[in-house]
């Protein structure tokens, strides 16, 4: 299986963090807050859809909510496959990081 892309990884992590409240709006807010960058709706929907198709996420609909014009929320959850891929990415990154002496020291030199 392919490695996760960075945006997928970020979305997955955010979903993990938000737990029961992991639907589009909080996910986007969280992402904006953490990254300090602009996230359009589309840039959140896309990875969510893709991850769900790949089976890294699963979702369910809540009861209709008044604030949403009587519409449901779609709450996302990580599947075990999702969790495993996160761990996989993490371990690969860690391995890579471990192999280099010290990035901070390097940049300071330059």
């Amino acid at each position: 299986m392919k490695l996760l892309s960075r945006s997928e990884e970020l979305v997955l992590l955010t979903v993990m963090k938000l737990q029961e409240n992991a639907y589009c709006i909080p996910i986007r807010e969280e992402l904006i807050k953490v990254t300090g960058r602009k996230w359009s709706f589309g840039s959140v929907y896309d990875p969510l859809d893709r991850l769900e198709k790949k089976g890294l996420l699963k979702s369910y609909l809540t009861k209709p909510v008044k604030e949403r014009g009587g519409r449901s929320k779609r709450i996302y959850q990580l599947t075990s496959l999702g969790k495993r891929s996160l761990i996989e990415v993490r371990s690969i990154q860690d391995a890579l990081w471990d192999r280099i002496p010290s990035l901070e020291a390097d940049t300071e030199k330059m």
């Binding site: 639907y23 589009c24 709006i25 359009s40 709706f41 589309g42 929907y45 609909l61 209709p64 909510v65 008044k66 604030e67 949403r68 014009g69 009587g70 519409r71 449901s72 929320k73 779609r74």
Partner: protein, 870 residues
């Protein structure tokens, strides 16, 4: 759900709707919900207006991607659909050919009949004021306060015209005109000479009717004496391309001759005009000629047609009432009526029409047949479509598996049938072009549909194409789009009972209509044949009729008679007012006294005939004797027919008295009942008076007819110059009485043939398909020992049942239709069971031949080949 949204900020409704469309197939509830929640958040932080703008921006951002996607996929799919459609047409060449031919024939018939219907109902509507133009009609009733049912007539004295305008506020304008005294008068300009037919018309003629003038002013062209208005064609013939205004024409009829000046040129008369003429001679020309003075200012000479234009406020019924009141002062018992000019062509039945007209029920009947033919063609196409669809099942399965939804497949198949029907339309247009002459002949109308400028026909064409596409494509489309992908992947799964049943019903319908039309054709022709061969009670062969049309000839009729009799080829001559094929003078509710004082009321038909009438027409005198010159009292003698004698209860009627129109007559003889009206009527009581009339009937010996006619002409022209020699044969006139019926027969025949053709084409295709499906079964049967005959029987049985069933349905339908049609005839042919059997046999035979092409091939095929078929 929406309850909770009351009194809250909501996003703009329109924007929400657009988003709803964009996200129609992606959990729209959640996406829209996200947007709405966000909208509320923004509302709280930045205010409602900002939120609204934000929401709209979101919509705008979503649109481009959405449109791009949609376009991309729809063109991609469209390309694929077209590709598949074309490939299917090419792959199933036979089927497509049958399908398109059937549809094209059906559509061509339908369009032709629509063109005909349009033409027929457009008569006289081109006049700007056509809604307010009426023809004046008069109905005379008999003396003694007795009503007469003589039909309406449209001849009036000229003096009446100005009175109509001055005395009746309802009448805004009136025009009178009359046909020229001769069918064709001579128009001569310089050396060029042509025979043309035309009218004498007063100055209002061109103001009421819209015959646009190319040269001249409509108010003045006909006002002076010795002026003539000619049509464009005549102008071209006489003067070429020069301006004809002011040119001289010498106008000549047998007894009249005028030098006239061209004062105007009108556009050629449209085909759908009841008034037809090549020229209009001003009425003043006639008036200024002293020899015609008897026609003018004379209430007793009625030879003008009068048309009136009612004022916008004028009420037709009121005007009629006032006119009748006025007419009563001139002649007792006259009733005047106004007939709308638009109704002349289809709804008028007066004694002598301006032009041959039609009946509305025939137009309706033809339209109905046209619709049936179109329906049959659609049914055919539908049948073939359903049959072919099994082959497409796998394609649909694959499409569905790849994510096509039902609507897409529906659209695909409807699109394909639209493609076919457009193809058929073009074929139909070609066919129309080829069929037009033949069709015009049957209907007796020269149709020249100018397709590109005819909005009605273009609409009909578009409508027909769409209708055909929907009617023939909808069922296969619905059937196929509903398939589950799993089922459709298995072959034959949709030739299941449902579609098979429908196919059978449709086929039964097709053949039922075909058989019905054929039975109708046979019955109509049989009735016509019956009429032609039936004993009329007189002999209509070898009689030349010369109608007398004006006074001088009328004065000389006795001279003519004696001179004609001198010819060796002439057997007898009679001068009578009516002819035995059509005696129409009639009094109704006439009261007679029987011998025992009992009163008898009857309608009585009468005619004035001379003493040779009975001999010339070979009518049998049963009792008493014919009129004779030897008895002076015969002036008050009458001949009655058997029916009168029966009604009066006279066993020996000779010498019985008979009062009629204030005179006493006595019966001198009884003639055998003869058919003096069309076969629509029973033989009624009839009386012949001894007086001469205005039709000269000459019985000739069979032989060199042109020579005899030449001799007659020579004598005629020597005796009288006032009238050209015109004649007709009695049996031609007789046949003309049944022209409409003959036409009906031909229409039934033609369309019956066409429906059988279309139905058989469908059958041909269907048989090919069904037998193809059973190829293996046939192979196995043959291997197990079935003979060719057995297999043919097996295959034919399936169709035979259906065709027999459709016959069974068609029989009562045809019977009822023909019973209704025949009810118009007092004398009708027995419909007879053999007509049904024969028609059915014909259809069954044709369809068996059609099917057998396939069955024999299938049955004769080598099982080795068929079983290897995989």
């Amino acid at each position: 759900m929406t309850m909770g949204r009351k009194n809250r900020f909501t996003p703009p409704a329109l924007a929400e709707k657009i988003l709803g469309i964009i996200y129609s197939d992606k959990g729209q509830f959640t996406h829209l919900g996200d947007f709405e929640e966000m909208f509320l958040n923004i509302c709280e932080s930045r205010g409602l207006n900002y939120a609204r703008i934000w929401y709209w921006i979101q919509v705008m951002k979503s649109l481009p991607g959405f449109i791009k996607n949609k376009l991309y996929w729809s063109t991609a799919m469209l390309k694929n659909y077209i590709f598949i459609a074309v490939r299917n047409v090419i792959k199933n060449k036979g089927f497509s050919f049958i399908n398109v031919t059937g549809l094209a024939v059906g559509m061509a018939c339908f369009l032709l009949i629509m063109a005909y219907v349009q033409h027929e109902s457009s008569y006289d509507r081109f006049h700007e004021k056509s809604g307010r133009i009426f023809r004046l009609l008069a109905k005379e009733s008999g003396q003694d306060g007795q009503k007469s049912v003589e039909e309406y007539e449209d001849s009036f004295p000229e003096v009446m015209t100005p009175l109509l305008v001055s005395d009746f506020p309802e009448v805004k304008n009136a025009t009178c005109f009359m046909g020229a005294f001769q069918d064709k008068a001579v128009l001569k300009a310089g050396e060029k000479l042509f025979y043309q037919s035309g009218l004498y018309a007063d100055r209002n003629f061109l103001e009421i009717f819209n015959f646009p003038l190319i040269h001249g002013n409509s108010q003045s062209v006909l006002s002076g004496p010795n002026t003539i208005v000619i049509t464009e064609d005549v102008s071209k013939k006489l003067f070429g391309n020069e301006n004809p205004i002011g040119r001289r024409i010498s106008y000549k009829e047998t007894r009249r001759q005028y030098d006239v000046v061209v004062s105007g040129v009108v556009e050629n008369i449209p085909q759908n005009s009841s008034l037809k003429f090549d020229y209009l001679l001003s009425l003043e020309t006639l008036r200024s000629d002293k020899s015609n003075s008897f026609m003018f200012d004379n209430w007793n000479v009625a030879n003008f047609h009068i048309f009136v234009e009612l004022a916008e406020t004028g009420d037709k019924a009121e005007a009629e009432e006032k006119l009748t009141e006025f007419a009563q002062t001139k002649r007792d018992g006259t009733k005047l009526a106004l007939q709308p000019i638009e109704g002349i062509h289809l709804r008028s039945q007066i004694r002598e029409e301006l032009a041959t007209n039609n009946e509305v029920r025939y137009v309706r009947l033809f339209s109905f047949i046209a619709v049936m033919v179109l329906l049959i063609a659609c049914v055919n196409s539908m049948n073939l479509g359903v049959a072919c669809s099994t082959k497409r099942a796998k394609e649909i399965g694959v499409r569905k598996v790849n994510g096509a939804n039902r609507r897409q497949i529906l659209h695909q198949f409807l699109g394909e049938s639209l493609f076919l029907s457009v193809l058929s339309l073009f074929a139909a247009l070609l066919l129309m072009k080829m069929l037009l002459p033949r069709f015009s002949l049957i209907l007796g109308v020269e149709l020249k549909p100018d397709l590109l400028n005819n909005v009605f026909l273009l609409l009909v064409m578009a409508g027909t194409t769409l209708f055909v596409a929907l009617a023939s494509g909808s069922y296969p489309a619905f059937l196929l789009s509903a398939l589950s992908p799993v089922r459709s992947m298995k072959e034959h799964s949709i030739s299941g009972s449902r579609s098979g049943k429908l196919r059978n019903i449709l086929m039964v319908f097709q053949f039922a209509v075909s058989v019905t039309l054929i039975i109708c054709t046979v019955v109509v022709f049989r009735q016509m044949n019956f009429i032609k061969t039936r004993e009329l009670g007189f002999d209509r062969e070898h009689v030349v009729v010369i109608p007398i049309k004006e006074k001088e000839t009328l004065d000389k009729r006795q001279v003519l008679k004696t001179s004609f009799l001198e010819l060796p080829q002439v057997k007898g001559v009679s001068v009578s007012s009516g002819l035995p094929i059509n005696i129409r003078s009639r009094l109704i509710n006439y009261v007679f006294m029987r011998d025992n004082g009992e009163k008898v009321t009857m309608d009585i038909t009468f005619d004035y005939v001379d003493e040779d009438f009975v001999d010339v027409f070979k009518i049998n005198v049963l009792r008493g004797r014919n009129f004779s010159k030897d008895f002076s009292e015969d002036k008050y003698g009458i001949l009655i027919n058997e029916t009168v004698a029966k009604k009066m209860g006279w066993s020996d009627p000779i010498g019985k008295e008979f009062s009629f129109m204030r005179n006493k007559y006595h019966v001198v003889g009884v003639v055998k009942d003869f058919q003096f009206a069309t076969f629509h009527h029973q033989i009624e009581p009839m009386v012949l008076f001894n007086e001469i009339g205005s039709n000269i009937s000459v019985r000739i010996y069979p032989g060199d007819v042109p020579a005899i006619l030449g001799s007659l002409r020579r004598i005629f022209e020597k005796t009288t110059q006032s009238q050209p020699f015109e004649f007709y044969f009695l049996d031609d006139a007789f046949n003309k009485l049944y022209q409409k019926e003959m036409r009906t027969g031909e229409i039934f025949g033609t369309f019956g043939g066409i429906t059988v053709f279309i139905a058989c084409m469908g059958l041909f295709g269907l048989a090919a398909f069904m037998i193809n499906k059973r190829t293996k079964e046939i192979g196995i049967r043959k291997v197990l020992g079935a003979s060719v005959a057995q297999i043919v029987t097996l295959l034919t049985r399936e169709f035979a049942g259906l065709i027999l069933l459709s016959n069974v349905i068609a029989w009562p339908v045809a019977y009822i239709i023909m019973r209704l049609w025949l009810q118009d005839f007092a004398f009708r042919v027995n419909i007879g069971i053999w007509v049904f059997i024969l028609s059915s046999a014909l259809v069954i035979f044709v369809s068996f031949v059609t099917v057998s092409v396939h069955t024999f091939r299938a049955a004769a095929s080598n099982p080795v080949d068929t079983l290897r078929y995989e």
